[in-house]
Subunit: 293 residues, 2 copies
């Protein structure tokens, strides 16, 4: 009786196909074939290596080569050998190329702004889009090591704090917690990892070290739209690898029973519960894991 899941998915797929088609079509308006426009955009978005672009767009190397030459002849990009490997080449936008890239970006941005403006509840629409994007983009999630003071990291942290505030009966005040100094979460003492999905941060985790063989996992957070996809396990695996590379043999962490999914995660991935090892007012569970290789 009710539309079945497959039909609903496919309705979504049709709606979205026509949206994608319309955007592609609008790209044609700048007098350049779609292939060339796509390459220019990939370069503008920081995919400067020829191989990276080719891989991203799924192009044959011959075609790619010609498209690049076309853009070069138009004066939009310059190609220079990669400093570390003279076989490879990296593309850079010229001023003219940057202007053209910006124009393409404006086309996309306008479309987005219009779609959002026409909707009565943009925030609801965006939340739905985040969820869909996380679900469809799960295979393209990448991990980046960043400075915890960088903007994307600060965004994750502030969402993390806000969530603790909602989850803890007492609320959450960072200043009462043992907030690590940024330097403790930067190599060589520690690390801070972001999970990025199509350019947006959707999760983070910190490794707080003091130079010794023991370090602490802090600030594990997954965006609500990306929960249930196994991302926390992947983030933890990444940070463990990173910790091992930094010469750390034992990891510790503290958490709170108001975060049952976190407690379950640690119990299920080789962590053993240990006695309290700090006097932070918030945590009530403490874990340890040996990771020496």
């Amino acid at each position: 009786m009710t539309p079945d899941p497959i039909s609903r998915y496919r309705r979504f797929s049709r709606a979205v196909t026509s949206e994608v088609g319309a955007l592609d079509h609008s790209f044609l308006g700048r007098g350049r074939p779609l292939g060339a426009a796509r390459v220019l955009n990939a370069i503008g978005h920081g995919r400067t290596g020829v191989a990276a672009v080719r891989d991203y767009l799924g192009l044959d190397s011959g075609l790619m080569s010609r498209l690049l030459r076309g853009l070069e002849e138009e004066g939009l990009i310059t190609l220079a050998p990669h400093p570390d490997d003279a076989r490879a080449r990296i593309a850079t936008l010229t001023d003219k190329g940057r202007a053209e890239f910006t124009a393409y970006e404006a086309l996309s941005d306008d479309r987005a702004a219009q779609a959002l403006a026409r909707h009565p509840h943009p925030e609801a629409l965006l939340a739905a889009m985040d969820l869909v994007a996380s679900a469809l983009g799960r295979d393209r999630i990448t991990f980046e090591e960043v400075d915890p003071r960088a903007e994307a990291a600060r965004y994750c942290l502030s969402e993390y704090y806000a969530e603790l505030g909602r989850r803890f009966a007492t609320g959450f005040d960072v200043s009462l917690s043992r907030d690590p100094e940024a330097g403790d979460m930067i190599a060589p003492r520690g690390a801070f990892l972001l999970a990025m999905s199509d350019g947006l941060p959707i999760g983070c985790v910190g490794l707080k070290g003091q130079g010794g063989a023991v370090a602490e996992i802090k600030r594990l957070w997954i965006a609500p739209s990306a929960r249930g996809l196994g991302l926390s396990k992947r983030l933890m695996a990444q940070i463990e690898t990173r910790a091992r590379a930094l010469g750390i043999g034992t990891l510790r962490l503290d958490t709170n029973s108001a975060l049952p999914e976190a407690v379950a995660l640690y119990r299920g991935t080789g962590w053993t519960e240990i006695a309290r090892f700090n006097d932070d007012p918030y945590p009530d569970h403490f874990f340890e894991k040996r990771i020496a290789s």
Copy 2:
């Protein structure tokens, strides 16, 4: 600090572009160019008129003609003149064509099923997809007059009853309400309209007549994912036009203050409140509108 709406929209767009691209690519696996596959699918989905397909896919008439001939030569379709207009032609799938169409459908269905199966909360993902599809597909919404006993109509009605049950403090029992006989909502006495978005019903409204110049509007319902898009106004405008065509001069309806958006809609679109005109236990507001042209 937080990712801005445009970035979020564009992340969604990227995620979805690659999904669409992957599906297109999988279509190539059946040894037929994408254009031909798309035409075959459009025909399989009931777009049998050549002009309808051309319009839907945005193809040039020359290209369309050649693609059709290709499919005909492959033995997948037959082309016959339209019975009412021998200039136009209608395409029909042969058995072989139907088999091929089914194979394409299976590719799409499998992809959908896989994406849903990999997600921890398929229902949440689908709800998000419904919302997005309604938002992006609002320009493609069509209206269809159907038998109120047809499956899509029954789906809308059951959702409508379920919603009344949630909204009314007393719950809602259809059998206590003045449930119109199906014949009252079928021409020439009345009508039943569905709003369809990319093949799925997302709203309905009934016109219940007894053959006289007065008829009643019943069962106005909009799917949650499509609310706020002005669809109720469009549905009402459609049913008024239909009523006028059936020779009806005055419309009446009853509603309940537990449905404030409905009451506001009627107040804002030319309806005047009148005295109770039936003894149905649920309604507490009654409206009338003259529509004679």
